[in-house]
Symmetry: C2
DNA sequence: CAGTATCCCCAGAGATACTG
DNA sequence: CAGTATCTCTGGGGATACTG
């Protein structure tokens, strides 16, 4: 039996933590391969990437599709539940952009958009 | 010079981490005293509570008002920037409630709302 | 009551090597 | 390329005691 003290705790239990938010952010945009995520999520180790992906999968937020080929190919995509976070994540990004505008001088911050 | 790779990283830099989300959640609802937060944010230590409050204050999300009286009284409230998270946090809570509905059997979860 | 100062620990995370 | 297995380690965070 899991005990929570408000709905926010539930949400944070599922998408909180050091890496979940960022990984979800990229998988929500479009299906992503493992190596792609490793490149996008700066500084994450192979270990933490796989571990976090397993947790997101176990919680029903993403789906893991494996192609039986050599070399191996795996693609992660959102489930319906995971994709339902998309509008919220968009708001969170907008908020962050606005925060940067208000709280950083132009020469104190740089945003390097990867593709 | 701070480097980010997407707007999401900025947001997570400000409101990510183990305790910030939950503390903000309660302060957004209404001004809160220290002891009140300690009671609401389950399992947080005095040290982490104060430390996190200082970070939120330094990042301009909350304001600390001190009453010069004995015994001391301190009240934390949101700044305009902090309060601008309110609609997003509401969505996050709704999402968590919906997640609980979909992913937990009724006897696997309990939500103890404190006041 | 609110906050500081210490001490200290261990789980979470990094590094490396290896496999199919 | 994707993933596992180990080993290591460090710093985030817990516990405690103390102050104004």
């Amino acid at each position: 039996m899991r005990i929570f003290h408000c709905e926010m705790e539930i949400t944070l239990d599922v998408i909180g933590g050091k890496w979940k938010g960022l990984i979800l952010y990229y998988v929500i945009q479009k299906p992503r391969r493992t190596g792609e995520l490793k490149r996008l999520v700066h500084n994450i180790s192979q270990k933490m990437l796989v571990q976090t992906l397993r947790e997101l999968e176990a919680d029903g937020l993403i789906h893991r599709k494996m192609y039986n080929q050599v070399p191996p190919k795996v693609e992660y995509s959102t489930t319906e539940l995971g994709q339902s976070l998309e509008p919220i994540f968009k708001l969170l990004c907008n908020w962050g952009a606005n925060y940067a505008d208000e709280s950083y001088a132009p020469d104190e911050i740089e945003i390097l958009h990867l593709k």
